[in-house]
Structures are given as structure tokens and as C-alpha cells.
């Protein structure tokens, strides 16, 4: 399909700017500090802090994937695939835990 046409004359790759990387990094550090603070000082919000920690981690992962790993600039198939892989993992997890919790 489309990939076969111009294999040798590569079309221009997207070049991310330093600024963009730095911005991503700042956001990541901010989020890290946030989770640490929530967890260390929000000790009695236990379930809440687990949930926030996981949500924040996921946001961080998305940021790394999107900007550092250039997913934002890759063909859509890369994003679709990674969603499928993650969904697969979540299904494994849900089914195993379900088995344990309903015994």
C-alpha cells in the first residue's frame, strides 16, 4: 500500500523542538512531585491516593509516548496498536482478578 511507493526517498521526518521536549519534561516532573505529595501527605485518603497515583502515572506515560516517543507524529496505526496491546493486558488482568474475587 502507501508504504511501498516511496521507500527510498523518505518523506521528511518530523523534528521536535528542544522547547517541546523541555516542556514535556517540566510537566512530567510536576506530575511526579504531585503524586509523591498526595501519597505522602494524604495518607488517610488511601483508595483515593492509589487511584490518583495510577491516573497520574498513566498521564505521564501518555506524555512520554506522545512527545518523547513521537507517537503524536507517527501514522495512526502505531497508536491503534498500542491501545490494542494495553487493552489486551487490561483484559488479562480483569479476568484473573475477577476469578479471584468471585471465588
Amino acid at each position: 500500500m502507501e508504504e511501498n511507493k516511496n521507500k527510498n526517498n523518505e518523506h521528511q521526518e518530523h523534528i521536535s523542538s528542544y522547547k517541546e521536549h523541555f516542556g514535556t519534561w517540566s510537566a512530567l516532573i510536576l506530575l511526579t512531585l504531585m503524586t509523591v505529595l498526595v501519597s505522602v501527605f494524604g495518607a488517610d485518603l488511601r483508595t483515593l491516593s492509589v487511584a490518583t497515583a495510577m491516573i497520574i502515572a498513566t498521564v505521564k506515560v501518555l506524555a512520554v509516548g506522545y512527545y518523547f516517543m513521537h507517537l503524536k507524529y507517527e501514522p495512526k496505526i502505531y497508536r491503534t496498536l498500542i491501545i490494542i496491546v494495553m487493552a489486551l493486558f487490561v483484559f488479562f488482568l480483569v479476568m484473573v482478578i475477577l476469578d479471584y474475587l468471585t471465588r
Binding site: M1, E3, N4, K5, K7, V85, L88, F91, F92, M95, V96, L98, D99, T102, R103
Partner: protein, 537 residues
């Protein structure tokens, strides 16, 4: 038709010397290396299976002690699963014919391909080294269930390590094929112009890629548990042996479709060639491969119905398991429909495909009995399951592989085998196979558990029939292999396209030249199997 001599320019004589084989980057040679290696290990597995049958001829001890028997069936299972059937079709025929089918000259990463092969050899050596090192081969069954696999003194660590390495080899092959299919199709060939074998390899590769790592890490945990003496599945520290089973089957169920899908791809190749007409329902067959691969990820729990699984989980896993049968049956019906209004050459490869369909039907339909919760409570871990999986794996995939070997024999070696002898071998194999495994289904319904060194007297008769069947089967196998070997040396020179096949591999000479094609291969008008000589519907 027959040319006087093999073409001068072929991949066999393109380079000379043993090194040019061991370090070759040519996908055809790597495919053949796999063929020789896999076949050798397979023969070891067959001998072990044969020994088991001898032991089971009569109740009580015949030729070996219980401990030995347990090691034998474990090694038999490990060899057959990890060394034979999982790599078999993709690594041999996939390597050889995928690039030809796509009209390219190699896979995307030839060096990685060579690495996969050597990893395979390394893993195989580890598996066999257990015969010599440590306290002998593992005696756990190929499933390595904890906690027995952690307690036994036999050399489980090495067997598990072997499976781990073989897993990597399998992952890399899958990765290579996916990239090849995405990037190296000949200009103008869209996904829907690909031969169905390529489709089935594509589906298989995704399973290899995404399921294998899970078993990889699980096996590492077993190794760690053995090395440190305590571990994640040990109840005394709060661990749970059932969790091991979940992890193991998350891989090993999808793995059964690694075994089956490529074989189904072969059937979809070979039937149109001998019916001389286009395949019935191309898209249905292609997409059902993907559907099987996909649904196959979600059903692993059916191996654990009696493990104490909750009713809710059992309900979900059972119903999902039944859903796999639907795309499979779509395939079967389409294959049969492809014979309709064909102009059929009844040749040996086609006979093997018919045998595939028959055996696979029995295998698949007995799978349904296993998938039903109530029936599985009775059938689980009995010979019914043993019968089921030999029917699908050996009666299905094994026979498809024989068929493919006969089908592509002239393409690979440029010669033809003796057809009369091949027919006799086929008859022996088919008859012996059914005589060996059908009694097992009945034994299972009667309640004979598997992995049994000894059995109650009421099971004696059927076990004897099975053992005699194994003798017929093995004689068929020997005849078949001998016939092929003779054909290799002395067979008549075959033409480039002896079956009047239509996929791209038949456009090049037999054996193919080093770089597969001397000119850009021509795509077939209106679909990969659209025979120009046949009438329009």
C-alpha cells in the same frame, strides 16, 4: 513438461560450503535449516511417543519404571510443543514461502531471522541436554505446574530455560513476519491480494508476539523459585499455585492457534490449486484467521475449570471458548465449498488436506465437549483431552504439514517423489492415526486419567488397539520419509509449476534462484486465486 535438468542458477548452488549454510541470510536456506532441525527433534519426540505406547500396552510395568515414564511424557510434550509444532509451519514453510508469496526476495530482517534460528537450536540443545545433565529430564508434564515443578529434583530449570529461549526465537520470527507483510509486498499487492497463507501467518505472528512474553516471564518466575528456594507461587509465603496456571495458559491457549492457524493457511492454499478454481469466500477465510487469533486470547480459563475457578469466571471463559468455534467453522465450510464446481486433480497434497479436514473436525468438535463446563468436569485431564489435542495438533497440523511437504517438494528441490509410494504412506498414516487416537477418546469418556503410568484392567483392550495403531502410524511415517528422501536424490526433474498453481512462487524456477525472482513477478488479475482458465460464475 519435464525439463532435462535442474536450473543452473538456483539457491542451492549459489554459494558453496557448510558456512554458507550455517550463516546464511537467505530465507530459503534458513527455512531448510529449520526443516532439518525440526524434523530431527520431531523424530526424537516420535520415538518417545512410541515408547509410551509400548509401556501402555499392558497394565503394570512393561518396559520402564514410573519415574522414567513421567520423564518420557514430559520430554515428549516439550519436544512436540516447543520444538516441533509451534515453530514447524511458520519457521519452515513460512520462511521459505512468505517472501515468495509476497513477491519479494527476503524477510524484512534477514539477520534477525538467522538469530531466531540459532536461538531455536540453542533452546533445543538445552531441552535435550537435560538427558545428560542434572537429575535427568523434568518429570512435570509440559505444563510445569507449580508447586510440583518447584519441588521435584529433576532438571526442571534447564527444561524451563529451554522453553524460555525457544519463546524468544518464536517472538523474533513473528516480529519479522509482521514487518515483512507490512513493508515488503510487491507493488500493487494490497492486504486483500495476499495469498491466504500469508494472512494466516500474519494472524499467527501477532499471537507469537503478544502472548509469548507472558509465558516467558512466568517461566522466569519458576526458575527464580527453584534457584532461591522460595517464590511467587508458594502457598507458604502467601502465593497461589493457581496464579501460575492463569499465567501459563494466557500464553499456552493462544499458542494452540499458533499451531493451528498456519496449517489452516496451507489448506487454503492447496485446495484452490487442486480444484483449479478460486477460493470460496476469500475475505471470510482471511478475516476469520484474525478473528480466531483475537478471540483466542480470551479463553485460556477453559484449562482450569476444575481448579476451583469461580462460577462467574467459568461462565465467561466457557462461552468465549465456544465463540472460537464460529470463525473456525466458517473456514471449514468455505474450504468444502471451494471443491464445488472445481475441476479436481486428486493428488497426494489434496488427500492430506482432506485428511486434515476430517481429523481437525474430530479434534475441533471434541474441543467443544471440553469447552462445555459440565462435560469438562468429567473429561478434564482424561485421555479424552489427550485424544482431542492429538487430533488437532497431529491429525490437523501434522497432516497439513505432510501435505505441504508434498505440495512444495518440487518447488523446493526441483524434483518429484514417487506418487504410488506416497499414496501407500498416506493410507497407512491416516489409518494408523485414527486407530491410535480414536480409542483414546473413548477411554477418556470411560474415565481414564491422563499421565497415567498404569491403569485399571477395564481400560486394557482399548489401550492395546491404540498401541497397535501407533505401529501402523510409524510404519507410514517411515515410508513417507523414505519416499521423500529417495525423491530428493533420484526423483524425476519437476517443472517450474507442476500443479498449475497460481500464487507467485510458481512464477519462478524450481528451485528458485538466489534472489527469488529475475524480474518483477506479475500479479494475478482479480484476486490471488482467480484462475484464468475457469468459467466465470
Amino acid at each position: 513438461m519435464t525439463a532435462a535438468a535442474l536450473p543452473e542458477n538456483n539457491f542451492f548452488n549459489a554459494k558453496k560450503g557448510i558456512m554458507s549454510w550455517l550463516f546464511t541470510l537467505d530465507h530459503k536456506r534458513i527455512g531448510l535449516l529449520y526443516l532439518y532441525a525440526i524434523l530431527s527433534f520431531f523424530l526424537v519426540g516420535v520415538v518417545l511417543g512410541f515408547l509410551m505406547r509400548l509401556e501402555l500396552l499392558n497394565p503394570g510395568q512393561d518396559i520402564m519404571k514410573p519415574h522414567t515414564y513421567n520423564q518420557v511424557f514430559t520430554l515428549h510434550g516439550v519436544i512436540m510443543i516447543f520444538l516441533f509444532i509451534i515453530p514447524s509451519i511458520p519457521a519452515i514453510f513460512g520462511n521459505f514461502f512468505l517472501p515468495l508469496h509476497l513477491g519479494t526476495d527476503d524477510v524484512a530482517f534477514p539477520k534477525l531471522n538467522l538469530l531466531s534460528f540459532w536461538l531455536y537450536v540453542l533452546g533445543a540443545l538445552f531441552a535435550l541436554a537435560t538427558l545428560v545433565f542434572g537429575d535427568g529430564p523434568a518429570d512435570t508434564g509440559w505444563t510445569f505446574y507449580a508447586p510440583y515443578s518447584v519441588k521435584t529434583g529433576t532438571n526442571v530449570t534447564m527444561s524451563v530455560l529451554a522453553a524460555f529461549i525457544l519463546g524468544f526465537s518464536s517472538i523474533l520470527t513473528g516480529l519479522n513476519f509482521i514487518v515483512t507483510i507490512h513493508r515488503l509486498r510487491t507493488p500493487g499487492m494490497g492486504f486483500n491480494q495476499m495469498p491466504l497463507f500469508a494472512w494466516s501467518l500474519y494472524a499467527t505472528s501477532w499471537i507469537q508476539l503478544l502472548a509469548t512474553p507472558v509465558v516467558g516471564i512466568t517461566l522466569l518466575m519458576i526458575i527464580a523459585e527453584r534457584v532461591f528456594g522460595i517464590g511467587l507461587f508458594d502457598p507458604s509465603i502467601g502465593g497461589d499455585p493457581i496464579l501460575y496456571q492463569h499465567l501459563f495458559w494466557i500464553y499456552s491457549h493462544p499458542a494452540v492457534y499458533i499451531m493451528a492457524l498456519p496449517a489452516m493457511g496451507l489448506v487454503s492454499e492447496i485446495i484452490p490449486t487442486f480444484a483449479q478454481r478460486t477460493i470460496f469466500g476469500y475475505k471470510a477465510i482471511a478475516y476469520s484467521s484474525m478473528a480466531i487469533a483475537f478471540v483466542g486470547y480470551f479463553v485460556w480459563g477453559h484449562h482450569m475449570f476444575t481448579s476451583g475457578m469461580s462460577g462467574t469466571a467459568g461462565f465467561i471463559f466457557s462461552i468465549l471458548t465456544f465463540f472460537v468455534a464460529i470463525p473456525t467453522s466458517v473456514k471449514v465450510f468455505n474450504w468444502v465449498a471451494t471443491l464445488y464446481k472445481g475441476s479436481i486433480n486428486i493428488e497426494i497434497p489434496l488427500l492430506y488436506m482432506m485428511a486434515f479436514i476430517f481429523n481437525f473436525l474430530i479434534g475441533g468438535l471434541t474441543g467443544l465437549a471440553n469447552a462445555a463446563l459440565a462435560a469438562d468436569v468429567h473429561l478434564h485431564d482424561t485421555y479424552f483431552v489427550v485424544g482431542h489435542f492429538h487430533y488437532v495438533m497431529f491429525g490437523g497440523t501434522g497432516f497439513a504439514m505432510f501435505g505441504a511437504l508434498h505440495y512444495w517438494f518440487p518447488k523446493i528441490w526441483g524434483r518429484m517423489y514417487n506418487k504410488a509410494r506416497a499414496n501407500v504412506a498416506f493410507a497407512l498414516l491416516f489409518f494408523g492415526f485414527n486407530m491410535l487416537y480414536f480409542p483414546m477418546l473413548i477411554l477418556g469418556i470411560m474415565g481414564m486419567p491422563r499421565r497415567y503410568y498404569d491403569y485399571l484392567p477395564e481400560f486394557h483392550g482399548l489401550n492395546q488397539i491404540a498401541t497397535v495403531g501407533s505401529w501402523i502410524l510409524v510404519s507410514g511415517l517411515i515410508l513417507m520419509l523414505a519416499n521423500l528422501l529417495i525423491g530428493l536424490k533420484k526423483g524425476k526433474i519437476a517443472s517450474a509449476n507442476p500443479w498449475n498453481g497460481i500464487t507467485l512462487e510458481w512464477q519462478t524456477s524450481s528451485p528458485p534462484p538466489l534472489h527469488n525472482f529475475d524480474k518483477l513477478p506479475e500479479l494475478n488479475e482479480g484476486g490471488p486465486y482467480n484462475y484464468p482458465d475457469a468459467k466465470k460464475a
